[in-house]
Symmetry: C2
Subunit: 429 residues, 2 copies
């Protein structure tokens, strides 16, 4: 496909107008001012449109798509114990498949091309992702509050199986990460041994860190004054590539650990506001050069995957947190949503619109009143764009969503099946 005379967010995350972008197979092969000599096939008219890298969602739990709006206005413990845990207990392969597919549909509608997705029922999740055409860094979340020996944990067997069967599937669209759920849901042996396994296999460790003040403070009581980041670091979790979700309550040397160990952080600003968890100190992280990505968390706590909304939430919460409207430039917010997320997933040839990279691209309508005037298009992208103005989502060179149509799945059936699976579970409760 050849995008012609289109405005782009270029490899330096600056706006360029009237550009040509040629896609061949799964790669961006040409970016330039002049029309390329090569015939790239279908031509896409760029007037009133903007082409940019797709979004890399740094933290998700897709099967929880079935719990959108289930149990709102509750305190965390009630919400978990009365709603989420009983519902999760009834999940089966069918429910997970359709819940994940629903979230993949929503993802592509809002321009997300890949998600760091932590949950269980991995084979069903992978199937939904492969069917949908998008990407995932999938991880089987390991919990072990009772101290079951490592090799007896079903989640470890499932993790090993996922690595064998799915790592690199779909021409690299599926990558398998490992996951310690969190400090408070595991014991030290589990953390240490899963860290070892992660490094042996050369994978990325995905873990919840200091989401709530309670979690953070209780950890210090349990772990000789160490914070979750400090304790998990002592367990070796950060001795290889790692992705720490939330980090709302990180303090003091936590930030140094994250920077020195090259840990990526996925901030989930909307979920953190909605659950009243707090606001992550993203300005400090950016200033320190920590790789900051953006996550949606699950739609049970967000309650959407509207990544334009999430990017704006990241930027404006940073400003109020720092008490300074000058922190986080539009360029930094756009990089967090794209390049930094791709790096957090180990996808070094993704997240930047440049020749040779994977063609994970989205097209946004700009011929709408909210995108004018254009003093600074990067600004409009971060603060004025509307998520459902994404009119095309392309993953590895393949168009998966265009002008309201889902090209890889039957939307009406997906909604029907997701509703049916939800109703079936509710009936059992």
């Amino acid at each position: 496909m050849l995008f012609k005379e289109i405005t782009i967010l270029n490899e330096n995350f600056e706006i360029e107008e009237n550009m040509y972008v040629g896609v061949a197979e799964d790669r961006i092969e040409y970016v330039g001012k002049a029309r390329p000599k090569k015939d790239f096939g279908e031509e896409y008219e760029g007037k009133g449109r903007l082409l940019m890298p797709g979004f890399y969602n740094g933290h998700a739990h897709s099967p929880m798509g079935l719990m959108r709006g289930y149990g709102e206005n509750m305190v965390l413990q009630d919400w978990l114990e009365k709603r989420i845990f009983p519902f999760e207990d009834k999940l089966d392969s069918n429910a997970v498949y359709w819940g994940t597919l629903l979230c993949m549909a929503e993802s592509m509608r809002f321009g997300i091309v890949s998600s760091s997705d932590m949950y269980y029922f991995i084979p069903d999740m992978v199937q939904a992702v492969l069917d949908s055409g998008v990407k995932t860094n999938i991880s089987r979340s390991v919990v072990n509050p009772m101290g079951v020996p490592f090799e007896e944990l079903p989640s470890i067997g499932e993790t090993r199986q996922a690595i064998r069967e799915f790592h690199g599937a779909g021409n690299g669209r599926v990558l398998v990460d490992t996951s310690i759920h969190a400090e408070y849901t595991t014991n030290e042996e589990t953390c240490r041994k899963l860290a070892d396994l992660t490094h042996e296999e050369g994978l990325i460790m995905h873990v919840h860190v200091s989401e709530t003040q309670f979690e953070h403070e209780e950890c210090k009581k349990r772990r000789d004054g160490r914070t979750p980041a400090q304790y998990l670091n002592d367990c070796g979790l950060f001795d290889g590539p790692a992705l720490a979700a939330h980090c709302v309550w990180c303090e003091g040397e936590d930030f140094d650990i994250l920077r020195d160990k090259g840990v990526s952080v996925a901030s989930n600003p909307m979920s953190n506001l909605k659950l009243a968890s707090g606001m992550c100190n993203t300005p400090k992280m950016m200033e320190m050069g920590i790789n900051l990505a953006i996550g949606t968390d699950s739609v049970a706590s967000n309650n959407s995957l509207n990544f334009f909304e999430e990017m704006k939430a990241l930027a404006v919460t940073a400003k109020v947190k720092a008490n300074d409207p000058t922190v986080i430039t539009p360029k930094e917010a756009l990089m967090a949503a794209t390049r930094n997320g791709a790096l957090a997933q180990g996808r070094t040839d993704c997240g930047v619109l440049k020749e040779g990279n994977k063609a994970d691209l989205i097209v946004l309508r700009t011929d709408v009143p909210n995108m004018h005037p254009v003093h600074n298009m990067a600004n409009n992208l971060v603060y004025a764009a509307s998520g459902s103005d994404v009119v095309m989502t392309m993953v590895d060179g393949k168009v998966v969503y265009k002008d309201g149509d889902f090209l890889t799945l039957d939307m009406e059936r997906t909604i029907f099946e997701a509703e049916a699976a939800t109703a079936k579970i509710l009936k059992m409760l």
Copy 2:
């Protein structure tokens, strides 16, 4: 028009499915489960759609539409002195008309049917609103830092003229409010005399109150320890209907004044985050029974009029502010965005979908992945809906926006003229 078999947000702000709603002239004439006997003309198919009251924007400065994204990442004083004031100084009738029309287009696209709009160049703003078909509570913002005698202020002459010429125009679509810009930009005589004029004319007073901590604390120094709310109350501003924008730093007896005097508050959560002004104590206001509406502020500081985004921002900032995820129910957020805003504008027959009320209605697509599953549609409306999924906006029974088409204005020309007016001003700077 007859909406048939459609899901509605009913007069109790609860969801009802498979309803019939008949609109005749400018009113809702029928709401019921059964098909009405009367022929309402054109029929609207309700499958996959939701009908609800349109949004009433409690605080706007529409001509600033031309300054979207102009001067970002600056501290307030620099932003005002280096960007906003010089730009405003070059505004003319033509620029204000097209800037306002652009914002009215954006408003209808995101479901806003009426705005409390404080600025100057009132005749040009009114013309744009009348042409667009939406509603406004317009006010000529009065500033008087130098203490010019009241009757010599041009803004007072313009206010009187606006009352004479425009109050009730367009079959009541245009209402004229008065406006003291703020405590720090006026003197006591101006406040007292404009308050008197307001009460004589039976109008609503629209005023900025405690937007920033600096404004709030400096007022206390200047006004014998009184806060802006206390001082303005002493000047008589709240002795009749009044609308106080922001109220981020209100404290102590300020809240009692707002409640006891029946002052409506327009909270502008996104603008307050983005300018790092802080978070309004909306949970306390709601608990006290203060009429809480939602405002976008101008797109120079927001930078959009996406009211679904704004409603979600109100709800989630309330939760983190209160450190309690149970505050603000979806019903309360929906009421703030609709009924409370209408009440703040003195539009007592608007903002609620019930027989006899004005037909200010919007239709939202629900056949999209982000609106499923439906555990609770009110929840999905507040937290999962996307602003550009509004597929119809109707004001006083007249459809002004449908399926991406602007029926009362030429969108392409509006964008062109708004860009041209902006370019002309930038050239002069």
